[in-house]
Each structure stands twice: as structure tokens, then as C-alpha cells.
């Protein structure tokens, strides 16, 4: 993606050129979002047997209207969902709706809008994933830096292997094991849910503590499984930094180890980590769909799981669109902000 922003062609970088690239990058953002919306529109229509229509039909049948006027019911639904119009008109109307984040009605909870359901689930997911991503970033980066640091205790390297292995497996697998060991056998943590059943979400301390209590296991499985990624990346950068002359010079000046480590080593090695962090933050909406499913955490993942089971297509497509949108926004911001942070990219381009 950086390829597109920092173009390959060498040449004078004047203000107009930068402006052109920024506009091209924003254009790309809209292209991606439009592509996702278009995919959501046409996929069910070219799929065998148009699942949305089938679902609507089944719903009318299940509704007990089998005896009389099934056709009229379907027609009524089709009108309600705009399925009786020519395709291009449907498409334009759909694009207009999506631009306002209107994904239509949920098929299972009919009068409720798909967006409203998604909006209830979204804060849970964003909360969990923001905290775990930041935590994993901090711990992993520190651990990676220590792994490369010559003066760290030797025993540290023993931990590198297991962490590598953990980062190679999908993290819902880890979640299953954690929930069994700490939830079912030891009973230290709650098995499922985002808060104790019977309580209503509200903004008081007790409830917040309860939420944190319920988030520990799903959070731990995400942190453990992503730690290795951050550690590996940081170690790679730190090894290169260690070989730099200024590190030797800092040591010869007799600076304390702690200063050399933080101000000379970590500080110079950490920049690419921030890029990855920004990109991962884009994934907070979709970050751990299956972890949520395993813990029946009331976020987007669990919502998607039930929506798939009940063939609630408008909710599924709504979630997919929101995820694509948030990730596209995050990469857009990274690409626009990064050249301001790192002048080398602004001047040199990517080649």
C-alpha cells in the first residue's frame, strides 16, 4: 500500500506532486470502500439461488402464512427490501443507503435496523481489541528489544521459542484451551459473556469491574498469541540498531546501560513498530472474531456467528462493510501521516 503513496518514480518533489499523491491515496480509499459495497450487493445476486430471496421466502413460510397469499407476502417483502426494481436502480439505491451506513433491516429481528444491532456490538469489540492490541504491543516490543540486547539475562532466550510457536497458531485455539483450563477446571474466571448475566449494562464501577473480569480470558488469549509478532519485529530492528556506530560510541562515552538501551537502541528501532501498530489498530473491529465466539463475548464476532447461523444476510454484509471501512480508514491515515513522521519516505520514495 505504501507503494502507491510513495511513488517509485524519482523526480522533484514539489507541493503539487505531494497534493496529487494525497488525492490519489484518498481516491484509492473510496475505490476500496466502493468495491466492498459492490461485492456485498452483487454476491448474493449471482450466487446460486439468490440466498437473500430464499431467506425471505423461508421467513414468510415460517411466519405461518403458508395457507394464503405467500406470493403476496413475498411481493410485499420484496417491495419493502426494494427487490422488485430493476437491478441498476437497486444498485444505485443500495450505494446511496450504504453511504449513509444504512444496511437495511435485520431479517431475524425484523423491525430493527442492521446498523443498530452492529452498533450495540461494536463498542465491546473495539474496547477489548484496543486494550489487548496496545498491551500486546508494549509487552511484545519490550520483550523483543530485550531479546536483542546483549546484556539481557541469558534465560530470556528460552522464552523465544514458545512465543514463536504461539504466534504461528490462530488465537482462538489458544482461547479454547484457556477457557477450559481457567474456566471449566479451575473456575478462576467466568466461562462466557461480557458481563454477569442478570445485570444490565450501565456506567458504574461495579459493572466496569465485572466487564474487565469477563475480558481477562479472551484478552489473554489475544495478547499471548500476538506477543510473538511484536517481539520478532522488534528483535529484528534492534539487532540492526545494535550494530550501529552510535551504539558503540554511546558505550565508549560511558553512558549508563539503561540510557543506551532506551534512548539509543529502542528509540531508533521502534519506528516500524509504530507503523504496524497503526495498521493493527485498523483491525480492531475484526481482530478476534472467533475468540469472541468461543467466549460468547457480546461483540461483533459473536454477532457475525449468530447472523451466519440464522442467514441474516443484511447483518453479515453490514458487519463486513464496517470492517472493510475501518481498516481502509486506518491504512489511509497511516499512509497520510507516516511521511510526516519519517522524512525519509517523503524525500526518497519507496524504491
Amino acid at each position: 500500500m505504501a507503494d502507491i503513496y510513495g511513488s517509485d518514480e524519482p523526480g522533484p518533489r514539489n507541493g503539487g506532486d505531494a497534493m496529487r499523491r494525497v488525492l490519489a491515496r484518498i481516491g484509492l480509499f473510496f475505490l476500496v470502500v466502493w468495491g466492498a459495497a459492490t461485492l456485498n450487493f452483487f454476491l448474493p445476486r449471482i450466487a446460486p439461488g439468490d440466498p437473500v430471496r430464499q431467506r425471505l421466502f423461508r421467513m414468510t413460510v415460517q411466519g405461518g402464512y403458508t395457507q394464503q397469499g405467500v406470493e403476496e407476502m413475498v411481493a410485499a417483502y420484496q417491495e419493502q427490501f426494494g427487490l422488485d426494481q430493476p437491478l441498476w436502480l437497486q444498485y444505485l439505491r443500495y450505494l446511496g443507503d450504504v453511504a449513509q451506513l444504512d444496511f437495511g433491516y435485520s431479517l431475524t429481528l425484523f423491525p430493527t435496523k442492521a446498523l443498530d444491532i452492529i452498533m450495540v456490538a461494536l463498542p465491546w469489540t473495539i474496547g477489548l481489541l484496543t486494550v489487548t492490541t496496545l498491551l500486546s504491543f508494549l509487552l511484545g516490543t519490550l520483550f523483543g528489544a530485550l531479546l536483542a540486547w546483549r546484556k539481557s539475562p541469558r534465560g530470556l532466550n528460552i522464552l523465544a521459542g514458545p512465543l514463536l510457536a504461539l504466534s504461528a497458531i490462530p488465537y482462538y485455539m489458544l482461547g479454547l484451551v484457556l477457557v477450559y483450563v481457567f474456566g471449566v477446571i479451575l473456575k478462576w474466571f467466568p466461562l462466557s459473556g461480557g458481563y454477569a448475566s442478570g445485570t444490565l449494562p450501565s456506567l458504574n464501577l461495579d459493572f466496569l469491574l465485572d466487564v474487565v473480569w469477563h475480558s481477562i480470558l479472551p484478552g489473554a488469549s489475544i495478547v499471548l498469541a500476538t506477543l510473538g509478532f511484536w517481539a520478532l519485529g522488534m528483535r529484528g530492528m534492534m539487532v540492526t540498531t545494535e550494530g550501529e556506530d552510535y551504539m558503540v560510541f554511546a558505550e565508549m562515552r560511558g553512558l549508563p546501560d539503561r540510557t543506551i538501551f532506551t534512548s539509543y537502541g529502542v528509540r531508533n528501532a521502534i519506528l516500524p513498530q509504530f507503523t504496524s501498530l497503526a495498521l493493527s489498530l485498523g483491525h480492531i473491529v475484526s481482530g478476534a472474531l472467533l475468540v469472541e465466539v468461543i467466549f460468547t463475548y457480546p461483540g461483533v464476532g459473536s454477532l457475525l456467528f449468530t447472523a451466519i447461523q440464522e442467514s441474516d444476510y443484511f447483518v453479515i454484509y453490514g458487519i463486513v462493510f464496517m470492517v472493510v471501512l475501518s481498516i481502509a480508514l486506518a491504512t489511509l491515515m497511516v499512509d497520510l501521516v507516516y511521511p510526516l513522521l519519517d522524512p525519509r519516505i517523503r524525500v526518497g520514495g519507496q524504491s
Binding site: M1, A2, D3, I4, L31, G35, A36, L39, N40, L43, P44, A47, P48, G49, P51, A165, S167, A168, I169, P170, Y171, Y172, M173, L176, V177, V179, Y180, G183, V184, L191, T226, L232, G233, G236, V239, T240, P272, T275, S276, L279, S280, H283, S286, G287, L289, L290, V293, I294, L304, F305, I308, Q309, Y313, I316, Y317, I319, V320, V323, I327, A328
Partner: protein
Amino acid sequence: MTEPQEAEVVSRERAALVRAVTPWQRIKGVIVYCLRTPMLVAGVLLLLALFAIGWVGPLFVDTGLADPTSAPPDLPPSRDYPLGTDDQGRNLLAVAVVGLPLTLRVGLIAGAVALGIGTLLGILAGYLGGVVDAIIRGLADILLTVPTLVVLVTIAASIKQVISVEIMALVVASLAWMWPTRTIRSQVLTLRERAYIQVAKMSGRRTSGVVFFELLPNLLPYIAASFVTSTAAAILASVGLEALGLGPQNEPTLGMTIYWAIRFDALIRGLWWWWLMPIVLIVALFIALFLTSAGLDAIANPRVYRGRNKRRRTSQPPAGATL
């Protein structure tokens, strides 16, 4: 007096060196070289062991027992049912023997298709350059910014009724060709300028001849490394989709086994043997693929290997992200 003698000695040594490399010695050299990367050896051995479960298993276990209601439900591991049975009365040992090869098949088909597309596009882009390159690279770059697994959810949800192992593989492959394309393209770009390619071109060889006989053989190490990576990514994607319930509904793949276990609350009901089997197999599979690809990578690019993490990291999200 001494100068020509020295030159002669050098040229004789050189000739000896050239003569010394017989095909057998070359193969031996490759084997010795591979043994120097223990990761590759361990990974390949583990992979072979996993494949063996699918090959040898059916000789000892009746695969028909992987169908529902072929055994009493919810039995813990015992002498008769070494891995227990699930809620629908499948013998989980038989499920392992049937399901692991199915999962491997999804991964291998998807990996091969993705790699095929990627190699073709990569060679086209890298070798032809110009507009073709710009279009292919642009498309790959745009699709790389899209969260593939979530888009796969849309596709799979829309064709849920008709999904089979092969269709599953094609769905996954449809969004897995971008990394191979990029890898192959960048290799073609460096190979294109090599002298032997230039010589082949100038000697009037047709483009197809240059591509198939000069370019492709030299791309093989990278293609092999890409194949393992894209197979691993495909398995990750397919298992994730299946665990969400979007897999072949009537096939006992490992991902579908996890889905049924989640669906029927195996966790809370304490039926640990139900989900443990697929997890152990999948984790073993991922570790095997990870070791193999790391080992192959070290062989394919010995020089850039150390700096690899640095370069990849800015664009590739953490493994397993989005699920």
C-alpha cells in the same frame, strides 16, 4: 617466470572445481545444505507424519465411523473409542483420519491455485513491465489492504448451501494470490537483468522459451517457499471460515469439527476430547508449516534472511489477525 605458472595453477584449480560438481554431488550438496537448517528438517518430518495419518490411518480405522450416529454420543476416550465420540455419534478417531486429509486438501488446492495465479501474474508483471505491471501491482496492492478473511465470509455466506471442499479451496484461493504475485514479481525483476537472460534474449529465443527454460527454473526456490506460505495461509483462512460455520456442512474437516464443538457447547459441557483433537492436529500442522517455510526461506534468500522481518512487517498484519 612465476606469473604464467601461477595463472596455470589457478586455472587448473578452477577447472577442477567445475569438474567436481557432478549431479549426484550437487544433490548431496543440497541435502547437506538442508541439514544445516534443522528447522526445515523438523518441519518436513512433522508434515510427513501428519500426511501419514491420512494415508495409513484408513488401514486401521473404518472411515465410515466418521459419519454421525455410528457410535454412542458423548463418550470420553476409552479402549473402544481412543479419542472419544462427539454429540452426533461420530467416532473422533475416524474423524481425525478423515478430517485431517480434507483440511490438508483444502489448503493444498487453495495454495496451489493461489500460487499458480501468483506465479503467472508475477512473471507477467515483472517480465513485461509497463502498463501490465502497473495494473497487476495496483490490483494486488489494493486487495492487500482489504481484510481478506472478512470478505471471504461474505462470499462463503452467500454460497453456504452449495459449498464443498473444492469450492471452499477456490473461494480461499480467490483472495490468496497477492503475496505470491508480489514475491515472484520482485524476483523476476532481479532475474530479468541477469546476463544469461539477456544472452537468451539476444540469441533470438522466443519469449515463452526464455520464460520457461531460463526464468522459471531459477524461480523454483522462491516458488517452493511461496507454496508453503500460501498453503499455510489458506489453511488458516479455511479453518477460520469453517469454525464460523461456513464450511462444507457434511464433511468432517477439522474446522467443521471445531464449529460443531462450539455450536453444541462442548466447552461448557466439559466434552474436552471433542475440541482437543482438531486443535492439536491444527496446531501441529501450523507449526510444521511454519518451520518448513522458515527453513525454505533461509535457503531461498540466505542473504536477506536476517533482514526479512524488517521488510515484511510494515505491510503484513500479525498472523491470524482478523479471526
